[in-house]
Amino acid sequence: MAAIRKLTERFAESEVDNEIVIMRLDTGDLFSLPGTAAAAWKMIDGTRDRAGLIKALASDFAVTEPEIAADVDELLVRLRDQGLLEQG
């Protein structure tokens, strides 16, 4: 499966108080990614596909891949809907 890529030209981001804060540059909308969503965001580096992301997160959080797969999928859909990601 193709790697997931952040559309970095569309947003600015920062990490404050262990939260990723993102602003869409075209709308000014702010998004917040706390906890595991922040961890997932940091692992989206343009080389991992969905399976690679789930594997890396499962390893980091010491859980099985099926346990987190649905949450990762939901997050990816949300980030794509918000125009922050593309999956080539």
């Binding site: 600015a12 920062s14 404050v16 939260e19 602003m23």
Partner: protein, 312 residues
């Protein structure tokens, strides 16, 4: 109150050198009376509104009352015949002052503040949120007032946020004078039921680092809780009037705006102060605010991970 944390002593500030930002504001807010333009943008300016264009700012007060600021040249006031001259100081010290600050790289915030242990703690909220009343009440408990209604931030040092001492006198409604023990002085204008007042613990006239920005809210029980993460960014955009002036002056694009918010979010401790607005419970809220403000100078108020605990 422990020995390590004391309200800043009132000082004789006449002997202290002023900061470059203070000198800049003194210079740029000098005013003369004369003719002011009627517009900066080619269309008429409605009463109680303003325009900013390049290095110029024009504000129209009530009726034929104009304030024209040009960067490097100060303020020109044109006062029509029906103007209440006492309102002039309100405009000059309010929107005109904030515009001058913004156009010179300083950030005005709609806040009132007290000084404690060599730092300022500011309370912000919309008009009527109780900023002045709270500061006056804290002054009644020995904390000198740092500013009322407008706090000017000097962002020139990238490592810390310094705020300028207040340029406005404390203004209170009659009931707030009674509740806080501030010493009332003259009425501020014919139209407004407010009085100038002298804070019981006096004022501090030197720039201080801003220790915390506290957002005032109403709720059933008094509590002060930290604001973290994305909420810091959102809260920083709450301050509509002063934010508009700063945004217009700086002409940030969104990436620059985000960078600006990010800096403030990282360098400012923020909290929300929820309390009932019930007069009978006013002292309870003030006591809590005092504990928060005084506690900011100690490590006792910080949890082991460095974040702020809830105080209630």
């Amino acid at each position: 109150m422990g020995d390590a944390v004391r309200p800043a002593e009132p000082r004789d500030v006449r002997s202290l050198p002023k900061s470059p930002a203070q000198l800049l504001m003194e210079r740029e807010t000098q005013f003369v009376f004369g003719r002011a333009p009627r517009s900066l943008k080619g269309f008429p300016l409605e009463p109680m509104s303003w325009q900013m264009e390049g290095d110029s700012f024009l504000l129209r007060g009530v009726g034929e009352h104009y304030f024209h600021y040009q960067k490097g040249r100060g303020v020109t006031i044109e006062r029509g015949p029906d103007v209440d001259p006492r309102e002039e100081a309100l405009w000059l010290n309010g929107s005109v002052y904030s515009a001058v600050a913004s156009m010179n790289g300083l950030l005005p915030i709609h806040a009132s503040a007290v000084a404690v242990d060599g730092a300022a703690v500011a309370f912000t909220g919309p008009a009527g949120a109780g900023k002045s009343t709270l500061v006056a009440a804290l002054a009644g408990r020995g904390l000198p007032m740092f500013c009322d209604d407008t706090l000017i931030l000097d962002l020139s040092d990238p490592d810390r946020i310094i705020c300028l001492p207040g340029h406005k006198r404390l203004k209170l409604r009659p009931d707030a004078v009674e509740m806080t023990g501030a010493r009332p002085q003259e009425k501020i204008s014919e139209a407004l039921d407010k009085f100038y007042a002298e804070p019981a613990a006096g004022t501090v006239g030197i720039p201080l680092p801003l220790e915390s920005l506290v957002f005032l809210e109403e709720g059933p029980e008094a509590a002060i809780t930290p604001i973290a993460g994305a909420e810091r960014f959102i809260r920083l955009q709450d301050d509509h009037q002063t934010s508009r002036l700063f945004a217009e002056a700086r002409r940030f694009d969104r990436a620059e705006h985000f960078k600006h918010l990010d800096r403030l979010a990282r360098q400012l401790r923020m909290a929300r102060f929820v309390r009932p607005r019930d007069r009978e419970r006013f002292a309870e809220g003030v006591a809590l605010a005092e504990r928060y403000v005084v506690g900011l100078g100690t490590d006792l108020q910080r949890s082991e991970d460095g974040s702020d605990p809830k105080i209630d």
